[in-house]
Amino acid sequence: MIPASFDYVRAGSAAEAISLIGEYGDEAKFLAGGHSLLPMMKLRLAQPTVLVDIARVKDLSYIRDAGDHIAIGALTRHMDVEKSPILAQHVPLLAHAAGYVGDPQVRHRGTIGGTIAHADPASDLPATTLALGATYVVQGPNGTREIKAADFYKGFLESDLAADEMITEVRVPKMNGAGWSFQKFNRRAQDWAIVGVAAWRGSNGSGVALVNMGQTPVLATSVSKALAGGASIADAAALAVAEASPSKDNNASVEYRTHLAKVLVRRALEESTK
């Protein structure tokens, strides 16, 4: 399988990439690691006429301690997120979840900004950053803006990003020692989650997000509210799907997904509660 023909241009900076995308219009796409986009292009589910390769924008690959949060450059690869000592110390849930994306070869190429921009509800890191209350920094022709993860995901593979905007940084609040858990249920090691759960629980609250339980990654706010109100883990986990709208596919019916989500949220909360 080979993609349909396209033109290929390379950007040396975020500003140049945005200007190139503006020049080529709606049919152009940014190419980062290419591990979501290229498979879709090979299946001809996507046929952009121009790819703007941003992978060589080296100043967008970093992981920095920024005080109350960790700042991650959008082009940081999953393998670098997984192995980061800074994240292991301050946001261990994200480092751990990154180790569940695809397989090592995929993690050598795929980037955190790419997977978030792709906005696949079945991907691990959109939901994980959502649970953690991350903020995405986005650059466009008129400058930068910040979008909270909770406001970012709009539909299946749809986000608040305009066609000429790109994510430049992901800001993830430090977990300050909160308990956490990442549950990924699948049939084969490298698969997408049939259902996944990213959760943390600390002295200042909790965050729970669901993978593959709707058209977007789902923030399970009812679970967190119940916990804040003193509910038991079992009672809180029973509310796991209050915000979800799962669909059926070859792997699972709606009923099965609903059951799995409740079980996995309960397990995640048990593991997160210290």
Binding site: Y8, M79, G102, V106, H108
Partner: protein, 152 residues
């Protein structure tokens, strides 16, 4: 588009269509057919090669993305005099292959794995090779081979 890629130590300058996949460039332009195409959907790992020292699935990388990079394929693993790479030798000695189709990818993924984790447990190897499928299901001896190559 003109690309410059060093493959197994030799520099190549080639004119490729942007949509040319790295695996097709390796197999059809450079005629290095040791790298196999299996699933063609970045699942099976048969097409694994090293780009700048790290295993990647060459069916999901464009040749133009590898411009300026150093690529190693299975043909580049043995020494010039034919002495096998320790990982190849370990696969041979531990019956780490049956039909052999997945083997080039397994060897490339396993050497990348040992580079990142020189002292892996059996579990580390099983998890580390999650991106490589063997349809003969010869996983036990593949894991044994990688353990042997790690000196265990």
């Amino acid at each position: 588009m003109e690309i410059r890629v060093t493959v197994n130590g030799k520099q190549h300058v080639s004119d490729v269509e942007p949509r040319t996949l790295l695996v097709h460039y390796i197999r059809e332009v450079l005629e290095l057919t040791g790298t196999n195409v299996g699933c063609d959907t970045s699942s099976c790992g048969a097409c694994s090669v090293h780009v700048d020292g790290e295993a990647v699935k060459s069916c999901t990388v464009l040749a133009v993305q590898a411009d300026g990079s150093s690529v190693t394929t299975i043909e580049g693993m043995a020494a010039a005099d034919g002495t096998l790479h320790p990982m190849q030798k370990a696969f041979m000695e531990n019956h780490g292959l049956q039909c052999g189709y997945c083997t080039p990818g397994m060897v490339m993924a396993a050497t990348s794995l040992l580079k990142e984790n020189p002292n892996p447990t059996e579990d580390d190897i099983r998890i580390g090779l999650e991106g490589n499928l063997c349809r003969c299901t010869g996983y036990h001896n593949i894991v044994k081979s990688v353990l042997a190559a790690a000196g265990k």
